[in-house]
Symmetry: D2
């Protein structure tokens, strides 16, 4: 299976880049599954149902979230009706929405996508390691599902690496989000799981992690509330990771980063 994951889409700049490029990428990269993190798609804070719809229309199969999951109040009432939008699985029982989604491709192959959030320097959610284990206990990679993609939305690199190793051999791809900075450590772990600490953001990198520089800098310098943070509106880069898996095992055969447009050095998977 050929899978593309794109990191946190930030604001209009990020959205437009995704919508302009994703349909073409789906074709040229012959993608079977596209997962995007949409927690900052609506003006930097949260995901509105309408914008989620745009992302699906552009070719996303599943949209994941993170600590900004509930910034848009209109999503709270909508998420239970839209299984293609998933929020971190380790929110407490009773939280709207689901932490995973099962996708059936047109050819019948199945992929399981899981979203989970780290706890180091973040909110006090349930144990992310047990949350993922609980979901995976209901599926078998290479048997009941041909691919498993895990978006670990976390601050600390250590927690993301640990998640990668814990899932090594049980997921096709473990990829981090949340720092809005792509890491250059894509690799296939010893057990066959593709891993990258952070996918990076889809947004304008002439910014402070996607938000306008002046207001964001002022918060560090002044330590008092200032101008509202607004997404930067310059040309966005797409940032993500592509994996090709072996359907027999669900493990990764090839992995490569994708970075296009904007200020990042470009790189496109060559497989």
């Amino acid at each position: 299976m050929r899978i593309l994951f794109l990191g946190d889409i930030v604001g209009r700049a990020g959205r437009e880049a995704v919508m302009a490029s994703l349909p073409g990428l789906r074709r040229t990269l012959r993608l079977d599954l596209v997962v995007v993190n949409g927690e900052n798609a609506s003006h930097g804070f949260g995901l509105s149902p309408a914008i989620a719809q745009d992302l699906f229309a552009a070719g996303a199969d599943i949209v994941t979230l993170g600590n900004h999951a509930w910034d848009r109040k209109d999503l709270i009432g909508h998420i239970d009706a839209e299984p293609r939008i998933i929020r971190p699985a380790n929110y407490p029982p009773g939280t709207p929405g689901q932490g995973s989604a099962l996708v059936t491709l047109v050819d019948g192959r199945k992929a399981l996508v899981i979203n989970v959030m780290g706890r180091q320097f973040m909110d006090a959610l349930d144990d992310p390691f047990r949350a993922v284990a609980d979901i995976l206990a209901r599926h078998r990679l290479g048997v009941t599902v041909q691919a498993v993609v895990v978006d670990i939305h976390a601050e600390a690199s250590s927690e993301k690496w640990a998640m990668g190793h814990v899932l090594d051999g049980r997921a096709s791809l473990v990829v981090g989000t949340h720092t809005h900075t792509p890491t250059a450590d894509h690799r296939i772990l010893p057990g066959g799981t593709a891993f990258q600490t952070d996918a990076g953001m889809c947004g304008d990198y002439d910014s402070v992690i996607g938000m306008g520089k002046d207001a964001a800098i002022a918060r560090f310098l002044r330590r008092m509330p200032g101008e509202r943070l607004q997404p930067a509106e310059g040309q966005a880069s797409l940032a993500g990771i592509m994996v090709e898996t072996d359907d027999a095992t669900g493990l990764a055969r090839r992995v490569a980063p994708l970075r296009m447009g904007g200020l990042l050095a470009p790189t496109t998977p060559d497989f």
Copy 2:
């Protein structure tokens, strides 16, 4: 000026990779200045004076530190006698050592190297932005010094990006350390400063940020003290960033990541 910065050297694996490769890199890349972060060089925790000496012998001009600066007690009494080892500048007044170092190259050019620590999710140090501004107030890039290199040792990507933009035009290179994960966002900011959110670590990537997997994972799963963390001892990758500056302005002309050996996809500056 041709400058190489290498990120956090972790344990024996990281040290040996640096010592094996740096002499050759100094020649082949015609490096004028080499700065390495050594906060994890001594068995993952701190920097002993003897290991610092090894790093200098291998070709490092300056060794920077971070939150592990004082893990080795023998460094505390030594650092005032060794101006080539610097610790974050924003420790409170009276802290041993210096937060910056002025290097005079054999040809007489001068470079200023600054180490500073972020505060987001980290210890309550003094304001890193004012600490750097205070040091820069005594130097003029392109006039009194031909290069300024800033190692911002920080957890949060936002704080590192903010530091980059605040210093844009006033430093040759602003590079982050501490996450032990190289980022793929090397670029030259609009004002001419080269930037990369994190240099990555020089160490074994088959690990949890350089430390042995089992013990590190157990800390996330069990939430009680367990086996002591030990550096992973497999083949290390070097991870860093190279910059070529214009001596007339001190600003960056070219920037490229360097990643060699071990599990990272290799890349070497082509200039």
Copy 3:
């Protein structure tokens, strides 16, 4: 000098209790100086200029603040014109307002009031210990000022106790705020400084630290944004501490807690 300090006033319930009782307390307790923490006076979040005026009219000489200092935007433009409202002294240079105030009593005696904020589990401000030391370097207790009152607004009890000991002999009273819970450890430290870890709040204790129970509890249980937090509106308790100092030294002769009304066990200074 006879000094009363009242902890964080929360919402209408807290304000009304202060306004109803303070004029009488000023007389019956023969108070020379009244300091109140007003960071939650305006509907739980911040202090409006009009409410500050009410507190002064009721008998407060100085109003201190804390991490909610800037919740009311109208205070930001007002604070420089009202030296009787002080914000934590360890905000960075350039922050509106002052971190201390010098009060001249009608009989000519002078009192210095300082507000400072802890950093443990709180925002990354400047060093509170150095901030207070810098202010105290310009005054001499028992010589240029007859009393020094320090409001250390902090989360961690350890940081507050440390501040008490550091200032022991150099302040008349060091009292904590922010936890909204009065502590039962009022005492005179060995050097003569009265100390209490937290003054407690002036507000309705049938609440979660002053705010309505249901919404506050829901945040712990559900980990997603819910109903807006609103101050509880039941009968408020006043909570604070009274000190009598020796004008010749500025040190404390007697200290006692004051707790009146509402759900707390009542206690009134008997001197």
Copy 4:
């Protein structure tokens, strides 16, 4: 049932005060149940099996713990054999020891004691509210057990107040520990549960939360490792709370703080 709870016992000073006074208090206060928090009993860090034995010999029925539960490695192998020592219930499954204990008094009445840890500003444990609910689901206050005592070991006052209200009517006493500072807010909540935000510590209050002043202060001023923290060795205060419950309902009839010896203003329950 007549219940005494004593807060964190710190080091030799705290232990000796408990051992000297508790046998007499058991008699004079006609106590049926004594619970003490022992997380700092062994030189300030953890609880050794031998010291636990001393506390039982002095009259403690149950010893609770907290974030220092595992500082003494010899407790880890011992705790499963000693059901009278309990650790926070919200450690992950598989953690040694239990989070609650059922005590049968000599007259046959039963009391359930629960230890749980907050998460605000603390380690990422499981949800403390659900952990307590799970335990309480197996018991009925006033029916299967005559009393329920909950030690909520937490930093944030808000989390402790929230726990009190959530358990109001389902526990006899909810009392906080960890700040080492007794709060003056003992009361009976509307549903009949006695509550105090923090019991305070049993230790020397001429200290920084029980530890020697100089070393503790140096950590705030210098931000680098210094002298080892050692418990202060001056005369200790006992600090705790006493409750008398109605055996028919298990709810609190009377509540009063107990503070004896050392530097705290003394207070003894008069019932």
